[in-house]
């Protein structure tokens, strides 16, 4: 294993990124590449990721796979790094022309899909696309979460004028805060019909609040990303839907592409790995099922 291709994710402490890493690990095994798994400890830690990128490049790898945590901030460091080593981007973009290849999922699009899913669920429950809805963002200042919020709010405004956003909240990355916020939203807005919880942790907290208050029928919640807990909520009808990306493939294909690049092969410069809405209706699909149950270990 002489070839080293580090993969740098945004936040190693999150399940989503662990799936990405699992995919990369598998690719490493399959292709005989050494894949150090790196990443900051929080999606908002920009400086941390730049530091890790610098360190990774100093190690003299064949290529680097990175998911830039912030569009603008990582631009220059990636330009700098690309001078000595090919860079493959996954998941999110950066303000740089230096990527050799790009495997992304469009978070703005993800937000739009969530809006569509929420509207559909509300319509199914009440017969009309009307009422008060809320959005809870896990942390402020995180690029991908900002994009989801932007896409969601935009889609609601342009496509579903009947829905009004009565609360647009930012939590602090803690499930408990999401839970407390949601219970208070329920108290303060008795007419609430829908909520978008734009990442895994918030979906867990918000789902718990809905479950505690047994409001699954009245308030429709769309989450983002999936794990055992949220899939369970989906089955029980606590959550109405989940927007699911394909992190495993991003990790796997990222490393695979990087290896190809390092060997001088030609690769596709842009791949969209897509985002899907999962509901009770389609969760049994083999394709969806594979997304919901990635082979992490």
């Amino acid at each position: 294993q002489d070839v080293t291709i580090p993969i740098i994710v945004k936040d190693t402490t999150s399940f989503y990124w662990q799936i990405v890493l699992a995919g990369a690990r598998q690719a490493g095994k399959d292709l005989g590449v050494n894949v150090p798994e790196l990443g900051a400890q929080s999606e908002s830690d920009i400086n941390g990721q730049i530091t890790i990128l610098e360190n990774a490049v100093a190690g003299g790898p064949a290529a680097v796979v990175i998911s830039p945590t912030e569009f603008k901030a990582l631009g220059a460091p990636i330009d700098e790094a690309a001078k000595s080593v090919p860079i493959i981007g996954i998941d999110s973009g950066a303000d740089s022309q230096a990527f050799t290849s790009f495997l992304t999922t469009d978070n703005v699009q993800g937000g739009r899909i969530a809006a569509d899913g929420l509207a559909a669920a509300i319509e199914a429950a009440t017969g009309k696309v009307e009422g008060e809805i809320a959005i809870i963002t896990s942390l402020p200042g995180v690029g991908s979460l900002d994009q989801r919020r932007e896409g969601f709010l935009d889609q609601i405004k342009t496509k579903y004028p009947g829905l009004t956003v009565v609360a647009d909240r930012f939590a602090d990355g803690q499930a408990t805060t999401g839970l407390n916020m949601m219970t208070d939203l329920i108290t303060a807005n008795p007419n609430l019909v829908g909520v978008f919880a734009s990442n895994l942790i918030m979906a867990q907290g918000v789902g718990q609040a809905i479950a505690e208050n047994k409001l699954g029928d009245k308030i429709k919640v769309i989450g983002f990303d999936s794990d055992e807990k949220t899939v369970g909520f989906l089955k029980e009808g606590v959550l109405a839907g989940l927007v699911v990306q394909d992190p495993y493939r991003m990790g796997y294909d990222g490393v695979k592409t990087a290896l190809a690049v390092s060997k001088g092969e030609k690769v596709e410069t842009f791949v969209d790995t897509g985002a899907n809405l999962v509901t009770q209706a389609n969760m049994a699909d083999p394709k969806i099922d594979a997304l919901l149950n990635p082979k992490v270990n």
Partner: protein, 323 residues
């Protein structure tokens, strides 16, 4: 810092006397009254239940933290212990360990962490800030390693139902506050052990010369704090139904803030059990009220900061005038 500020602060004006004479409990009730007048939804049984639930975990952490602060120490690891214990109990339960045993094992782990802190402070001579900061870092790492960065989902059942349940119309979580606070009160205020905590915090040399086992007292304080944190971890796991090592980040600061708002002095030897409880519920009320008033979450932070300053300032003025 023992800055003498008595002289520099001007005597408050007559008109504000009433405000200053409010005790912390009075202040809490005052805020509640304001909120009840300002919103329809505050003074509903449902919301009061929510409020009690929301403040409970910080309240228990703050009580544990108070023991440590009274000895003039600090325990920065409590947030990490909460997250870590949630992982441990989720892990044990999904591994098929009976719930009661899982709870006991998790609490014992809390005891072990507290003993480690005591060891570091007493035997290795490390500052409490450093040893608990180190534990904070390491425990999050261990917890992440166990869960591999993800969450352990606890199968629904009696355990996860517990945190949602009510008993005699009061949320079970609030009962847990009482379960911790009443023995804590007896321990701190009525038993000699509590007095030794104060003595050690006031002048550990004097305590030692009086035959107080200073080392044991320090061990005790940190064990109590870590065990309270492990207990909160169990409650958290029950409440959100998952074990996740990155949860409860920053709760240590909330616990310390609650304790200080409740009148505990970071220089040691001053504190009570009821103070931190009130402090925790004041903080919970601020958040709950801001949510109900639909205050922008950024404003919420700004307001919280200012209210902390205001409350502690008033409380200090009140104490000063009492003397």
């Amino acid at each position: 810092m023992s800055v003498e500020t008595t002289e520099t602060t001007k005597a408050p004006k007559k008109g504000m006397n009433i405000l200053f004479s409010l005790t912390l409990l009075g202040l809490l009730l005052f805020i509640w009254l304001l909120l009840a007048l300002a919103t329809d939804s505050f003074w509903t049984p449902n919301n009061i239940s929510n409020l009690l639930r929301q403040g409970s975990m910080t309240a228990i952490l703050a009580v544990g933290q108070t023991f440590v602060i009274i000895t003039a120490g600090i325990d920065l690891s409590v947030g990490a212990i909460v997250g870590f214990s949630s992982v441990i109990i989720a892990w044990l339960i999904t591994a098929g360990v009976p719930v009661w045993l899982a709870i006991i094992l998790t609490l014992l782990m809390g005891v072990a962490i507290g003993m480690f802190h005591g060891f570091g402070i007493v035997r290795m001579g490390l500052p409490p800030f450093i040893i608990t900061l180190a534990t904070l870092t390491s425990l999050r790492g261990i917890g992440l390693l166990i869960t591999n960065g993800s969450t352990i989902s606890i199968p629904s059942g009696a355990f996860t139902a517990f945190a949602r349940a009510d008993f005699l119309g009061v949320p079970s979580l609030f009962w847990m506050v009482l379960v911790v606070a009443i023995p804590a009160f007896i321990f701190l205020h009525l038993s000699r052990w509590g007095r030794y905590l104060f003595a050690v915090g006031s002048n550990s040399e004097a305590a030692r010369l009086s035959g107080v086992n200073v080392n044991r007292t320090i061990y005790m304080a940190y064990i109590l704090s870590a065990t309270c944190a492990a207990f909160v971890g169990i409650l958290l796991a029950s409440r959100i139904g998952i074990g996740n090592a990155t949860q409860a980040e920053g709760w240590e600061l909330q616990a310390i803030a609650s304790s200080v708002i409740g009148g505990t002095s970071l220089f040691g030897a001053v504190g009570s059990v009821h103070g931190p409880l009130l402090g925790a519920f004041i903080l919970a009320t601020i958040n709950n009220g801001a949510n109900l008033l639909n205050v922008n979450s950024f404003w919420q932070r700004i307001i919280t900061g200012f209210l902390i300053i205001l409350i502690v300032y008033f409380d200090q003025l009140r104490r000063r005038r009492q003397r």
